[in-house]
């Protein structure tokens, strides 16, 4: 009964989405405030309905209602509660409901927080959101119904793929979707602006917080996915240039470009039509990502199940959304008047360079991801494009970007002084030289490219600090003055410093992977294995029972110079429901390096294969990503985005006139 309620709520949500995508649009065209206001109420109610539908699905999972096909196929009564809940989005149908839930959440947020927007713009934005919602609700109801029941109900379910039963992965999809779907708001704003034919600084100020929020969530989502791969797959890789990873990375790259170009629109009234294009491309890439992952053209852990109707449907949605918005762009964009002029060497110029490099980088990733699919589709050779391709195309493009990250913020708007900026960066230059010399001394001519990567990270990190120190006059003015300046510096400024520093930390973590050490050996209890100054001793391997698995649990003592540092328990688990073994790795981290241990196979007697890795700076990859997201959040809390709070109390007309 409850599940039927959910189904019904979702159908109602579809009806509302249809209303939302037409009435406000007509209202905006005919200047009828009443019609425009329909957008807000439908967006709010639509969210409530989708939330209700989602809640009924969660309820079915928690109570293990196996008469629901979706629950039967993806859940099991013996599964821990957390994974019963996260299992809701551990399958195709449920994850699409989550997609629409987040989409309607953003629609409702635009309706709720957007009352400082001009009513016509808000109505159009909500109408476009409504159209996207319509498309995906149709997709769920016609091709991916999660509410399907069968009778009689089976006694127990088939369970969730054990590899997905992990806290890191449990929250990876919601964050990823918050990012993917969050970009829909920027897309809707762009399409609304094209319909309206007007883009100004105020428009950019409204778009930026939404983009920023989506970008933060996507950053966290990607980092979580990579962290999960690192500690579950048993050999410590954290990025595989797998098409599914690329699908999330492309919107991130273009979204980052959008974040930066919107600054130029806001501050300088330039790059308008480019920014609109980026907003369209970012969400289009999110849709393409959804298509790649959900249509089954790729085989991976993410491709849950395949049904040709679904692929065709998503492809159709893609064509309508991307084709439609780009056609609109082609017609309307030439009418957008460009604003402020600037010299090539200027803050704007640096941001343009950032945009060019990020979008070219995204294009190379796009080619590398889709070329094998394309070739396969036209019946050509079967091939795969792996990390060597990306190392040779994407990485070289990021080097000039990282060089420029430190310089850009030190250039003035309109016309910058490159020489002056470089002079002020002498500290960063000194840091680079120091890292290079120290690295050469320590590694005795080790991998030189990795060393250059570390130097580049030092450059970006110190560059970010130099800019920040200049702004608050650190060490150049009395401490009281510095403190006052730091307090009055806009939070967006602190946010930028934090995000750029985070980028540097991530780059350092990536570069340092060149110094990984690896040992694989068969150990009998009592034997030990030396690696990078540590000694791992296998004490015992014992049987252990989990809630829905049985395991071989090893006890491994880590010592260094005779002192015990840690006791690690890597496991080899076996899930009887799915008949699948998985590895549970054990990691001892000092934040400067990880000691990573995985238990391999038994040799039939009492010997066990033990795999140990020493990975310097590897935690920095994710720490840096967290810094980037925190920087984004700090920037998001800036007073500037809340100008609406003060304006909201004024009558609508006065607020509009004040702009």
């Amino acid at each position: 009964m409850i599940i039927e309620l959910g189904h019904f709520a979702l159908i109602l949500a579809l009806c509302l989405a249809l209303v939302q995508s037409t009435v406000p649009l007509l209202g905006a065209a005919r200047r009828q405030l009443g019609w425009m206001a329909v957008g807000r109420s439908t967006a709010l109610v639509q969210f409530a309905l989708v939330a209700l539908a989602f809640a009924t699905l969660v309820h079915a999972y928690v109570t293990s209602d196996f008469s629901v096909a979706n629950v039967y196929e993806n859940s099991h009564s013996a599964k821990p509660l957390l994974y019963k809940i996260t299992g809701v989005w551990g399958n195709h149908e449920g994850s699409m409901v989550l997609w629409v839930l987040i989409l309607s959440l953003f629609g409702a947020a635009v309706a709720w927080f957007g009352d400082n927007l001009p009513p016509a713009l808000q109505a159009r934005v909500l109408a476009v959101q409504g159209m996207i919602g319509t498309g995906f609700l149709l997709f769920i109801l016609f091709t991916s119904d999660p509410f399907h029941r069968f009778a009689p109900a089976p006694l127990d379910g088939r369970g969730l793929n054990p590899i997905l039963q992990d806290p890191g992965l449990a929250f990876h999809p919601p964050f990823l979707y918050l990012g993917y779907v969050g970009f829909s708001v920027a897309f809707s704003f762009a399409v609304a602006a094209l319909i309206e034919g007007r883009v100004d600084a105020a428009w950019a100020r409204w778009v930026r917080p939404w983009t920023l929020a989506a970008w933060c969530a996507l950053t966290i989502g990607i980092a979580m996915g990579s962290w999960w791969a690192y500690y579950t797959l048993g050999w410590g890789g954290w990025w595989f240039w797998d098409p599914v990873e690329n699908a999330s990375f492309m919107p991130w790259l273009v979204g980052t470009a959008l974040l930066h170009s919107a600054i130029v629109v806001e501050k300088r009234d330039a790059l308008k039509s480019w920014t609109i294009l980026l907003a369209i491309v970012t969400f289009s890439l999110s849709l393409i990502g959804t298509f790649l992952v959900r249509s089954g053209v790729l085989t991976s852990v993410h491709a849950f199940a395949v049904d040709p109707a679904r692929g065709t449907f998503i492809l159709l949605l893609l064509l309508i959304a991307i084709g439609g918005s780009l056609s609109l762009y082609a017609v309307r964009a030439p009418a957008l008047k460009g604003g402020g002029l600037f010299a090539p060497i200027s803050r704007e110029g640096a941001l343009v360079l950032n945009n060019l490099l990020l979008s070219t980088g995204a294009a190379t990733v796009f080619i590398g991801t889709l070329y094998p699919l394309f070739l396969d589709a036209v019946g050509g050779a079967k091939l795969s494009v792996g990390y060597p391709f990306f190392n040779r195309t994407f990485v070289p493009l990021m080097v000039p970007l990282l060089l420029a990250v430190a310089v850009g913020p030190l250039l003035a708007w309109k016309r910058g002084d490159l020489l002056g900026a470089l002079q002020r960066l002498w500290v960063a230059g000194a840091g680079v030289v120091a890292v290079l010399l120290l690295g050469l001394y320590l590694t005795q001519g080790g991998p030189i490219l990795a060393l250059l990567g570390l130097a580049l990270a030092a450059w970006v990190f110190l560059g970010a600090l130099v800019e920040w120190a200049e702004r608050i006059k650190l060490l150049r003015a009395p401490f009281g003055e510095t403190w006052r300046r730091a307090r009055h510096l806009p939070r967006a400024s602190h946010g930028m410093t934090l995000a750029h520093a985070g980028l540097a930390v991530t780059v350092a973590g990536i570069a340092a992977s060149a110094w990984n050490a690896e040992r694989i050996e068969v150990l009998h209890p009592g034997q030990s294995l030396p690696i990078s100054g540590y000694v791992l001793t296998l004490d015992a391997v014992a049987k252990a029972e989990g809630p829905n698995y049985s395991a071989d649990r090893a006890t491994i003592t880590v010592t260094s110079d005779g002192a015990t540092l840690a006791v690690l328990h890597p496991e080899k688990r076996f899930f009887p429901v799915q008949q699948i073994p998985t590895s549970e790795t054990a990691i001892h981290t000092t934040l400067l390096a990880d000691l990573y241990v995985a238990l391999g196979d038994n040799d039939g007697k009492d010997g066990w294969t033990v795999r140990a890795y020493w990975k310097p700076l590897v935690p920095w990859i994710w720490i840096g990503a967290v810094f980037m997201a925190l920087g984004g959040l700090l920037s998001l809390s800036d007073r500037r985005w809340r100008v609406g709070v003060a304006v909201r109390r004024l009558p609508k007309g006065a607020a509009a006139a004040g702009r």
Binding site: V297, V301, L341, R392, I520, V522, K572, D603, T609
Partner: protein, 155 residues
């Protein structure tokens, strides 16, 4: 700086970037693409030695030999028609088993043995790498329903 000149600089910068990207992609394409071969292809076609390639098929039952060092594993990958010997040093994925589908990436040595750099196995019981399915179909050893392949329906 006039609007026209700024636009010109913008267009030139964009074209320059496009040129660089094209050059990078083309050079990377010329030697870092990895082609896929079935064990039968390896027998019948000329395959460049020393170049990275992928092979796919089933791990031949009773062919897996673990050497004493705990790292080196030798096995044969078969498409039912032909089989090719593979040697691998490193950690095998959890789901590597005899009779299961695998994709091996590595290089073909002069001895006809594939020296694997990575071995990919399926993530769950319902999934078989698509290349493996195609290889088995080509050799006529594909059994419908034996191992439902995800991705098959789309064809």
């Amino acid at each position: 700086m006039t609007r026209k000149r700024r636009r010109l600089i913008g267009v030139l910068a964009g074209l320059g970037m496009l040129g660089i990207a094209t050059a990078l992609v083309l050079t990377a394409f010329s030697d870092s693409l990895v082609f896929f071969y079935s064990p039968t292809d390896l027998k019948t076609k000329t395959v460049p030695q020393g170049r990275s390639l992928r092979i796919g098929g089933l791990v031949q039952p009773a062919s897996v030999v673990r050497e004493g060092d705990g790292q080196t594993v030798d096995f044969r990958v078969t498409d039912g028609e032909n089989a090719v010997a593979v040697t691998y040093v490193g950690a095998l994925p959890d789901l590597f088993r005899e009779g299961q589908g695998v994709v091996v990436e590595g290089t073909l040595g002069g001895d006809g043995i594939v020296h694997a750099a990575t071995v990919l196995a399926k993530h769950d019981e319902n999934y078989m790498p698509r290349e493996v399915v195609d290889a088995l179909k080509q050799s006529g050893h594909w059994q419908e329903g034996a191992a439902p392949a995800r991705g098959e329906g789309a064809k």
